[in-house]
Amino acid sequence: MTKHEADEGGIAADDASAGTTPVAGPRRAPPEDPLVGFLLRLGDDRLVLGHQLSDLTGHGPIIEEDIATANLALDLIGQASSFLRLAGELEAKGRDEDALAYFRDGVRFRNCLLVEQPNGDFGDTMARQFLFDAYSVLLLDALASSSHVGVAAIAAKALKEDRYHVRHSSEWVVRLGDGTEESHRRVQASLDRLWRFTGELFEIDEMDAGLASRGIRVDHAALKSRWDQMVNEVLARATLTRPADGVMQRGGRLGRHTEHLGHLLATMQSVARAHPGAKW
């Protein structure tokens, strides 16, 4: 990301696995410093989602929404920049946020599977955005009061942005759900398709114990309960049906991604890799 676009901060907590479904064990050990791994999750979620939204620039249904989407993309890429920068500093291997964003391969990315799902139609984009925003705003809220000063500062800044993001995306979900017959049918289908990627957001894994020693505690159960409440409320307003919790897909936090991430990274990283060290 360019520096001038990358002034936003955000923090989120993520973790790994718990939940209702049995989990396959990680295929490789997590990074030695759990905080670095955690920051990569936070940064990668926002980098991938921000990049996807930036792809929509110029394609909005109306110019007002086109600008809104570009705003969201910049916010998220800015937040990613802050998280990845901190990750690079703590890792102390000489990698800055650009190195982490553009010179890591897909198996090293720690984003959740939800954010790498394709933009699809406008309903897909907004359903994905709402499910993530609801999670992100609650997570940032929790992280803003963590005792790790760097994380708390980024989270506090990003929280303001995310409060607007969730307001924007939830209003769209309501309008699409409670709109025409076609918009209702399509956004319901989007929700049904994306629902299996929501379980991963609230997983607990071994990273949590390590994080606690760094002053970061994420209460996944409480987060999930507040997320359920927020999502249920919006879906009710939207006259949409909450999908049943079936088998949840997971693996993004461990580097096992869906087929979409590779294509996304190939596009996103191509310029930086063709011209390493270029300034613009």
């Binding site: 110019i63 809104a68 924007h168 309008r175």
Partner: protein, 95 residues
């Protein structure tokens, strides 16, 4: 851009607390909340405002160009309506 039949809204921004709201432009939106969000995204991206008004364009009553004569011309030759004969004390900010 696809065609839209969404209503038109006028946007007013206030740059600082206490300052007058000024017309910033217009946009399309489905309803008031949507208009407020669009106004935020389109007109306040660079910190231009601390408050926003959105008003349905249809609610604005405008003078017609043909009214210009009777409405405004009579004010032109009445200099006594302008407070230009007062000296402004030093220290008073002139807007």
């Amino acid at each position: 851009m696809s065609e839209t039949s969404w209503p038109l809204w006028e946007v007013f921004t206030q740059g600082n607390q206490g300052e007058p709201f000024e017309h910033a432009g217009s946009l399309h939106a489905t309803d008031a909340e949507h208009a407020l969000q669009n106004a935020r995204d389109v007109y306040t991206r660079r910190g231009e405002a601390v408050n926003l008004w959105v008003v349905p364009s249809a609610a604005i009553v405008a003078s017609a160009p043909g009214d210009a004569g009777p409405f405004f011309d009579p004010g032109n030759d009445k200099p006594y309506r302008h407070p230009q004969f007062y000296k402004v004390p030093r220290g008073v900010r002139v807007f």
